[in-house]
Amino acid sequence: MIKYLKIKFLVALLVFLTTVVNSSASEPAFTFAGLRAVYELLPTKMQTQFNEKDIVPSGVYFLDAGSLIKDKQIVFRINQYKEVSHIGLQLFSGLTTNTNEQVVFDYLERKLLFILLSNSSSDILNLMDQENLVFYVNNRVVNDDLKRSIQTHFSSISNASFTLYNTQDSFSAKWSIGPLNYIEFRFPNNFITISGMDKYELEQHLMSELQNLPEGRAMVIDLPKSDLTPYKDEMFVLRGGTYKNVDDISADYFLLFSNQVKPVYDDRFILESASNLFLNIVPSNIRLNINHKQYGDKHQSCLVNINDFLSFFRDDYSLYFGWQNKDLNNLKASVFIYNSYFDYSHTLIISFQQADIFVDQRVLQTEFYSYTPHNNLKQH
């Protein structure tokens, strides 16, 4: 009997130790430091509940918010590398197809959870002050007892209609029950603050995406001839607008028309062909050696197909092209990859010779600068 009890005790001890080891081993990884900070504010019980979940890549997990706020859940999103890529108070159901808006939704969910988890009102006021985040109830700014106000108003927004409005300077996120009954957050349009990542983290994140680019295709232009403007020789131009009103940096496509539209890609028209290539309307096997100039005087390189690279930015950005130097033996151009929603840009600088762009599998050397903010510039 004693022997049996000893064995039972040892088994129980083993189970206990295994649980302890497992729970510490299952401490999650985070895509950026700010997420870990939110996670560490969670009550230990919630952390344990989350750690006990069987995490799979690209999974979404929920925990009951309990006493933090009535009838709400805390949402955890996991990326393909099994890292936690989002934690917040769930306000929105599912992911939107607009990835820019998703960044704002995540910001709101993350900040609300931070406020609910903060035990000190000075921490909350510091956050609001540092990020210029202002909470309104029916157009009145709420400063006093913000946590309680948020608990009261956000537990009853399930029937509210939501609108997100942005300019190049600011955002307004509004939940309305009626025209005179609404709650609203206003905050500056600053991608680095809203994304929660600093420039170093954003660059690292972008670099890992560039190293694993999905296959991308050149855009197909299919238009009637009547939509095109004659340019020169037999070429037409489809005007695509200019970058920051600079006439020489544009999204113009140069096209030919014989039965159907096709992009100019011909060694008789080097400049127009290169412009088309870098605006991603020419299918090509050319590769770019992306020399990514990063924070800290560091740089990382990767070799990518030109269509894969430019297609990666298709949904959230506009591409613009300009010549720095049109000397055919020493061509130099800039591609501005502009996110107008958050008003920031990436810049790709390419140096090449005229023949390069017509050689299959040719590698072009580039310099790449990412996440340049524009919304903190002096307005003239």
């Binding site: 510091n126 002050d129 540092q130 680095i192 600093d198 420039k199 170093y200 970058y243 920051k244 009103n245 600079v246 006439d247 020489d248 940096i249 100039k293 924070y295 800290g296 005087d297 300009g322 010549w323 720095q324 800039s334 501005f336 840009s345 810049t347 600088i349 310099e367 600068y369 990412s370 996440y371 340049t372 903010p373 524009h374 903190n376 510039l377 002096k378």
Partner: protein, 321 residues
Amino acid sequence: MEKIILLLLLVKSVLICIGQPQTVSVKIKEGVDDKFLISRIESNTSQLLSSLNDDYSKRSAVLSIDYRIATPAAIDGMMDIWEDVKFYCPVGQIDENLLTSGEFYQLRNIPIVVDDDIQNVVINFNKDGKIEDFYLGLAMHQYQNVMDPNSVVDRTRREIILNFIENFRTAYVRKDIEFIEKVFSEHALIITGRVVKQQNLSTDNMRSGLSKREIEYMVHTKSEYIDRLRNVFNNISHLILNFNDIEVNVHRKFPNFYGVLLEQHWATAHYQDTGYLFLVIQFRDDDHPLIWIRTWQDASEVERDEIFGFHNFRITEGVVR
């Protein structure tokens, strides 16, 4: 090897027109007890200003400054300005206080006429009373160009500068002292300014009773600045740093030097301030930008026309002596 000489020009222009006397006499009202030093400074300054007036009236192509009254660097500096513009002292008698900090002496509010404008010059002296620096503030347009907004090259360069500025901001937020150390030139000029007191100007040649704030400028070496910053970083848990109203200009003579002026908001748990930050950044072929000048002025105390810019500094490139 290249040498960059950076001269601080702390000047505010006053529009009055006065004739040009041949000789100038400088009298120090108060400042230091060393009568011999005061006498040297009075004599050297009087001689310099009289000599300038003589050269101006003769329309001399070069200045004839006695090497015994000024250091070679100071003479070179004045020669360089003289090549661009001619100037003279419009008053015969100057009575000023001598400012001192250790073995550094300074006379301010010395009126000089440049292109029909009167500007206040600052003259620095070494411990022997020799003129060490002569700071003449020229109009901003003589020193900087706004980058051409319609040029693809300028637009690209501007994006790279703004990218660097974001890196620079990120370095402070991350308390990355190694990176900050790396981007400052070993010979960087780092200046902070603050208002120390109110006083009435009593210079004979100024409108009497004009109220003017006295601003104290502290000059730090790179190592002093980095040590102070390291100490600050060690004592704060986190830093919120925001840059707003960023302006980028390019130096007229040296197009690889860029001047960046911005409004900086600094906030830690127990302290916050807002100041104007002016940086002179050199972009080199090796792609590692280098900061040569960093100035900070309290936004609540400094007037708009007192904010540092290219016009306060002189940049020359030459051979190391």
